[in-house]
């Protein structure tokens, strides 16, 4: 494994982000640190960093990969299709779900990859209000 300037930059860029970041956003950010950055290097570096366990990716609601520094504790994400926001699933809720699938199906959920779409509480409420106004 070689520790190259390019890899340093990718790591620096992803470290300085708060929460998730998509591949192309990261390419942009790297380019602002070093204009000579090429996309292929960034994407390849991301895979290397993921193999090393430094970063991880999940999929946003549109299926696009979103990267982040690997958190201390693996957690899934919740995406609201109405307002577009996303949240981390709390360790408790996650554990409950993981447990249920393990018991019922023997299926071991990969929490770091878990991404659930739907409608958040406040959007559910406001949608309901709007439909009863008609």
């Amino acid at each position: 494994m070689r520790w190259t300037p390019q890899r340093r930059i990718v790591l620096e860029a992803i470290k300085s982000t708060d929460g998730h970041i998509t591949g192309s956003e990261l390419v942009d950010r790297c380019r602002s640190l070093d204009p000579a950055t090429t996309p292929s290097t960034v994407y390849r570096t991301l895979r290397v960093l993921e193999d090393l366990g430094v970063v991880q990716h999940a999929h946003g609601r549109d299926g696009r990969e979103e990267f982040q520094i690997r958190p201390a504790e693996a957690h899934g994400h919740l995406h609201c299709s109405s307002c577009g926001q996303s949240w981390e699933i709390s360790p408790d809720d996650a554990a409950r779900t993981v447990h249920a699938f393990r018991e019922n199906l023997g299926f071991e959920i990969d929490l770091s990859h878990l991404s659930i779409g739907g409608t958040c509480a406040s959007c559910t409420k406001s949608n309901h209000r709007r439909s009863s106004e008609r």
Copy 2:
């Protein structure tokens, strides 16, 4: 809404598939029915059919869209990252999960979009066997 030959072909193609199919696979299939098929039309038609509620899409483990004729009952999918297989989540297990998130977080899971990655029962078993052999 116009019922054109192109749309007829897309619908025919997706109807004749068993289970899921990715966009590009569907384009190929349409091309075998009509070589003049263009990708943009296929993808646009898929969105129209989805708006009509005829088809729906979810995301495979790699995040790629996978389409299918909308089933009588919405169901999520389970993807094993080890063997690559995928299964439908039974209505019971699905309901349990949906219920849990609604109660705890007020979050309304979109079941038709739910796609969970992890390791299936038999792969978990054989991985375990392999590691204890070392």
